[in-house]
């Protein structure tokens, strides 16, 4: 075939908006058609012309891509074949999505489900089966409008806004969370909450109505962007890692109502049923690679934070796709998908534990790395996560959830001394899907920012409750947090669960979690504002306020999903056996919480009570089971372990670990959540600092290039 025939019809330079408002719309829609089959190419061209569209055709994907790059505003929609000799149609799709963000329609004679699915995961807005009929083409304009509308949800009249291709999306789609902004400002909005909190949008710098010059994300620019993201991911930073799991026994047990009071970081409690017990896990994530930082690193004149933010969002989606595809292939997320609630599982727990460990300085860098690796690749050592902290390396055994829940609960308990067993106490009886979910959840780690603690640095725990599949890459997050001493090993995350690099998974996680993250350190007000965190079913970011793991007032109760009856749970659970104690033990426990000032030693009961009360206060309604609970620990700064009472072990990332069916002696759980080194105050101050800095959550996610928590709901 001739090389890239590109017959261009009259180029219509006006913006899409203008054209949309044009009476003749969708006439004049500028379509770029790519297909290596000359017959099909000609037929489709003719069909599109019959629809009064402006057609530019090319039989080479590369040529089409360069046309798009040269003339970013020149097209409204791209239609591409899947099977092409020079470039896979999906690749083209991704490029277009990343660089130009135009709607792309895939087509093929192949109608097999997996190919169509691929189209979906790669972000195609439609998939046509050949032979294509003209009727199918008549309505493609809807994709253009839809995309536009999503980008500028607030625009009543998108005609006034910038063209569809405007890379600078001020308005995040309603369904997406403006993670970048959120991250920066420490606000997190779930998509649900988004609508309710539109005013928050206005607070952001980016105003949707402003017309901003469109940024062309050239290959070079994108490379710079990726470099910056990667760099940030590697940087250590304060992260809040926070994972708390508390078992709720039976239907009537109360979940651990750990609520971060006024925390800016939303966290989500996910109820996991494991080993016959319900575990509630609280996850929180704080992303590191935020647009502002990326922008700074890139140092490109004329580039704005908003440009980066919107690009970051797309990038995350792209990575997510990659990871989800690979996950899909590896069957990782199958079960995960279906159980958003249960997901925030164990794996995240691991991450958290790791983080916690790291924070406490107990976790050597390698451990984190291992952990991350484990989390990421799930191929982590099979060693029981419940390994005593002593051997911190073991902590990073993010293995399959199944593995995680080794019988080893006992040993975990035994081992606790200052050790955090990541998957401590995870009952093996966990249902597969639970496990999978947990595994999934492991991906989201809440990274605790342990700034105060020298060691606690980083933690990118991205606990992302991702209703979608999550990659264990989150483990990386955990890695990040090692206190400075732990040099972050190269992200083992890079071991993609599947063929994809970690990026994918982490990415996904982030996005998912991001929606939930509410990084507000403020106590009450923040939480309220951020309400969304609680609600989101899929990303539960828990904000960890070191001081207040159990927040007495869960302002964020908004986040509670309807029907979420935290209160009920809380009430019921007074005597709940905090299997978490396992958690506690996992954590290693420092059994002497009392001696640790500032430790986040919170006895479960304490937490529960507080949580209950706070939840109540906040009028949280809840479903009968807490699928998400915001837990914040709140104790006046020091969480004193309750002797003998069920202990809430806030084990970063470790909640799942402690899930176990049997009741562990309370005392064993006294520990804390964070090892001694981690001072609550430190954490608190770290958090506050972060908050002050505009809510930028700096989490060292430790993963390459993408910050999972950028609040990108995936």
């Amino acid at each position: 075939m001739n090389l890239g025939t590109a017959s261009s019809s009259v180029s219509w330079q006006s913006s899409t908006n203008d054209r949309v408002s044009d009476m003749q719309f969708p006439a004049g829609l500028r379509v770029l058609l790519v297909d290596d089959d000359p017959t099909c190419l000609r037929i489709l061209e003719q069909m599109l012309r019959k629809c009064h569209y402006e057609v530019t055709k090319s039989n080479r994907a590369e040529i089409a891509l360069s046309m798009l790059r040269e003339n970013r505003n020149g097209f409204d929609i791209v239609i591409s074949d899947v099977h092409m000799p020079d470039m896979n149609g999906f690749k083209l799709l991704e490029h277009v999505g990343l660089e130009m963000d135009l709607p792309v329609i895939m087509m093929s004679a192949d109608d097999s489900k997996d190919v169509v699915m691929k189209g979906v995961t790669h972000g195609a807005c439609d998939y046509l089966i050949k032979p294509v009929r003209i009727e199918a083409l008549k309505n493609i304009w809807q994709h253009v409008i839809r995309k536009k509308k999503h980008e500028f949800p607030k625009d009543k009249d998108f005609e006034q806004s910038t063209s569809l291709e405007d890379g600078d999306r001020q308005q995040k789609p309603q369904d997406d969370v403006d993670y970048s902004s959120s991250a920066n400002e420490g606000n997190w909005k779930s998509s649900k909450k988004r609508k309710e909190e539109e005013d928050e949008n206005e607070d952001r710098d980016d105003t949707s109505t402003l017309k901003k010059p469109r940024v062309v994300w050239s290959v070079e620019l994108h490379q710079q962007f990726v470099q910056a993201v990667n760099q940030l991911g590697i940087d250590k930073s304060k992260t809040l890692l926070f994972l708390h799991i508390c078992p709720s026994l039976g239907e009537h047990s109360d979940p651990v109502p750990v609520l971060a009071e006024g925390s800016r970081y939303p966290f989500e409690l996910v109820e996991i049923i494991c080993g016959g017990m319900k575990w509630v896990e609280m996850l929180g994530i704080i992303p590191e690679a935020v647009p502002k930082k990326i922008l700074e690193l890139m140092n490109v004149p004329g580039l704005t934070r908003e440009n980066v933010a919107s690009h970051l969002q797309k990038y995350r989606l792209y990575l997510r796709r990659l990871s989800s595809v690979s996950q899909h292939q590896s069957g990782l997320n199958n079960s995960f998908m279906g159980h958003p609630e249960a997901t925030y599982g164990m794996s995240s727990f691991n991450g958290l534990e790791l983080q916690a460990l790291a924070a406490t300085g107990q976790l050597p860098a390698q451990s984190l790395a291992t952990l991350q690796a484990a989390a990421l690749g799930r191929s982590a050592t099979k060693s029981a996560i419940s390994m005593p902290l002593v051997d911190q390396r073991n902590i990073f055994s993010f293995e399959n959830p199944k593995l995680r829940f080794p019988e080893g609960q006992q040993q975990q308990l035994n081992n606790s001394n200052k050790q955090i067993n990541l998957l401590h106490g995870i009952p093996t009886t966990m249902e597969p899907k639970q496990l999978a979910d947990l595994h999934q959840s492991s991906q989201s780690f809440v990274a605790m920012n342990m700034q105060g603690n020298p060691r606690m640095q980083q933690n990118n725990a991205l606990l992302m409750h991702m209703s979608q599949q999550q990659h264990p890459s989150r483990a990386q997050m955990l890695n990040e947090t090692n206190n400075g001493q732990v040099s972050r090993p190269p992200l083992s995350i890079s071991q993609p669960l599947s063929s994809n690099g970690i990026r994918g998974p982490v990415y996904n996680q982030v996005s998912q979690a991001s929606s939930m993250v509410d990084f507000s350190l403020n106590q009450n007000s923040e939480l309220q504002n951020n309400g969304s965190p609680l609600v989101r079913s899929n990303s539960g970011m828990s904000t960890l306020t070191s001081k207040r793991i159990i927040s007495s007032d869960i302002k964020g109760s908004r986040g509670f999903p309807p029907g979420y009856d935290i209160f009920e749970e809380l009430h019921q659970q007074k005597s709940q056996d905090w299997g978490l104690t396992n958690v506690g033990s996992t954590f290693g426990a420092s059994t002497d919480h009392s001696s640790i000032p500032g430790t986040l030693d919170v006895s479960p009961s304490m937490l529960v009570q507080q949580g209950i009360s706070s939840i109540k206060k906040n009028g949280q309604n809840g479903n009968s089971h807490i699928s998400k609970v915001f837990s914040s620990r709140e104790e006046s700064g020091n969480v004193h372990p309750m002797g003998g009472g069920p202990q809430l072990n806030l084990i970063p990332g470790g909640n799942l670990l402690n899930v176990k069916s049997e009741q562990l002696p309370d005392t064993s759980y006294q520990n804390t959540f964070f090892p001694d080194q981690f001072g609550q105050d430190d954490l608190m101050s770290a958090l506050l600092k972060q908050q002050e800095s505009g809510g930028q959550v700096e989490t060292d996610f430790g993963f390459d290039g993408y910050s999972p928590l950028d609040n990108l709901p995936v």
Binding site: M1, D36, D37, P38, T39, C40, R42, I43, Q46, M47, R49, K50, D81, H83, S108, A109, D110, K130, P131, V132, R133, I134
Partner: protein
Amino acid sequence: MEIVGKLQKQFMDFMSSLYREGFLDDQFLQLQKLQDESNPDFVVEVVSLFFEDSEKLLNNLAMALQQQVVDFKQVDAHVHQFKGSSSSIGAQRVKNACVGFRNFCEEKNLDGCIQCLQHAKHEYFLVKNKLETLFRLEQQILAAGGTVPIIS
């Protein structure tokens, strides 16, 4: 006029038989609808493209199957392409031949593939012949001053 009438009838009958015998399907009708004043020779143009492309594909297929070590993936890719283009112009029997062909590719059944190739080739030349006849008829009608009837 007589002649035109006759030719037109001949044309319509022939066209109907092509549909009836499965040489062409509804997609061909779609192509005819796309033809208009601004593109008066659209169908001929597209069909010519199809012929050109198909012959290349068939050659590639023959070569691929003659290799010492047959790359079935490559063969399948060609067949897939052939299937796509034949379905786009409505060459139904060719398309059907491709479907079976792909199955043999998946099974890596060389003999099956070779047979399918023969079959596909056969169908292709059949439909090519038919279409050429059709176009000739059209030309004759136009030459006689008539208009080509539109079949819906």
